[in-house]
Symmetry: C4
Subunit: 198 residues, 4 copies
């Protein structure tokens, strides 16, 4: 299961690069200005890569705690992989529609719903694993709760960002980036390390 | 062998997303209506992903039972991987032809034959492994028969759906989706769990 | 090293499907005739998939015999992976040029040289591993020679097919397919199995 | 972590082939001349493949020395994978812009910065692993320093090549190729082997 999962994460993250457009030249057009106009594509690429990275870190943490899987866990995991492998589509849509007055709202919402669904599935996977006692028995319930606590806030943040995207789509996309970084950057670890070294 | 197989499953499933089209905007066209018109592409994407997921679950179950492989098993497995990695092509064809009066029959049949061939190869792999005693010896013949029993019905269902597709192609595509779910959703497990918890 | 190699084999084999063209419809064109006209693309796809499968089988056999790798072996392996990951390009060229009177010779030759280079690199990897004693010590020199003997004929066959391709390119492509099957289909094993069962 | 990393390396290296263009024929155009005109695409492809190969060799060496990873190492590794999976984009840009008088400077610089960033991240990963004692304890500090020494020169060489690219972009691209080969070809090992055999 892990090699399929890691494969899907790796492929979805790497396929995103295919949608970065190299602008056609000619007629004295300025390269840098042409590239600059592609900023929504680059932003969408960056947010999606960060989100897949975040989802992979959370997924790797969960599978690291697992002792065994049952057949329902396998199916739930397939559902998560479906959402991950779908992400390049809303990413492409966001890159193309973010400068369109009418379509940007639609694109940002669809994109946000995909991100939220990924986060929900990761939470579902974790809660299911805890409930069905698929995790290693030496872990204390305190540790398990701390993981659950770390997974929950991003759900609320995504919901907030999606609502905000109905009014200001571009702000919502920036929030999606911040949410990914919020999970990716291990504040706790950095603080602990500093304390230890002093 | 497993890392190659999982790789092909993961890549074929993730490549499907490349064929989801982001409609061009402009001239006051409505985004949602444009996306709606792409429904055959989304349906084909969804059916193919579910089928690859189903094939992977069956394949992972078989390789989990294996004790060793011989050189003919490796070749049969390559044939299965060929059929899996081919699937994005009939998927694309189905997405483009399903709204064409003349071509939809052709596309649905080719697609169905690919799905049937995948199911046949999985059955062949399993029967070959049982016959050549490649499976772990601690498994009882009862267990083996229960696997064989679970692999057989989808073959008959696919044959039925292909025939139906000659008359109503769109109905056949919905049946392909149902067949994938039929294998994916572990009814047995759910029933057993409920019983255990009562 | 194995996971990188298997990854490249799996991706190169699966990427080939992206070059299978779904013909555009409209103006009462017949689907089946349109698809038929794409036969060089399908033939090229099929030959390349079979060749990658063959190369993977040979590569898996070699890595199965290995006890350790040294840094030069790693580099030679990278060279093989380069040739494998390049193959989709001559494949696409063959598919597009095989019906062109002038270009088909060029396309068939470039394609054949890529296949020959893959075969040469597999032989080089094996001979290097034998010479530097990277293989498991329990293997007898007889076993090693039998592997070497099985790798050699395809080199000569590829050379012959490339020469023939200068005159009849289409015949050469069929020969490339036969060579891949010659290695893939384990005649020896089948014969031995029959004997054993009688 | 290793299977995700190897996956991204393998996919990024193999996706590069999608940007090799098969020139359209017709109107008595000469195939070989058409292909020759695509030399920047082939050169960019070759340099990028060699660089990813080089980065993989260095990455595999580092992970081979590791005893454990911490959560910051995981994040730094994700940053390296981001840079690797981004590389196909500047590669495509280089292939398209290298014959354009105005854009070639821009393309060569962006490309060089991507290569430099990859090299910097590999150095950072290694230094972090050494500093945080993530590496196996049986390794002596001499061995560790020799790895550090081998990673440093390419940083300076990339900086030099980027500066040169502001004046002669094509020369810079050739230097990028030489740098990749400089790390890939294990001079030390070859010399040692010769000495041992005499």
């Amino acid at each position: 299961m892990e090699s399929l999962s890691d494969g899907v994460f790796a492929i979805a993250a790497t396929l995103l690069v295919l949608d970065l457009v190299v602008p056609a030249l000619g007629n004295g057009r300025d390269v840098i200005r042409e590239i600059e106009q592609e900023w929504p594509t680059f932003l969408a690429y960056f947010v999606s890569f960060a989100t897949i990275g975040m989802a992979w870190v959370a997924h790797a943490a969960i599978t690291g705690y697992l002792e065994r899987v049952d057949s329902l866990f396998l199916r739930l995991n397939l559902l998560l992989l479906f959402l991950i492998s779908l992400l390049p589509f809303p990413t492409r849509m966001l890159g193309e529609y973010l400068t369109d007055q009418h379509a940007e709202r639609f694109a940002a919402t669809v994109y946000g719903v995909n991100l939220l669904a990924i986060s929900v599935m990761i939470s579902v996977l974790w809660r299911y694993a805890v409930k069905e006692r698929l995790i290693k028995s030496e872990l204390e319930s305190e540790d398990l709760e701390s993981v659950t606590d770390r997974l929950t806030p991003s759900l609320i943040l995504y919901l907030g960002a999606i609502c905000m995207g109905l009014v200001w789509p571009k702000v919502a996309v920036c929030m999606y980036l911040l949410i990914a970084f919020f999970v990716l950057i291990p504040f706790g670890t950095i603080v602990r390390r500093r304390r230890r070294s002093t």
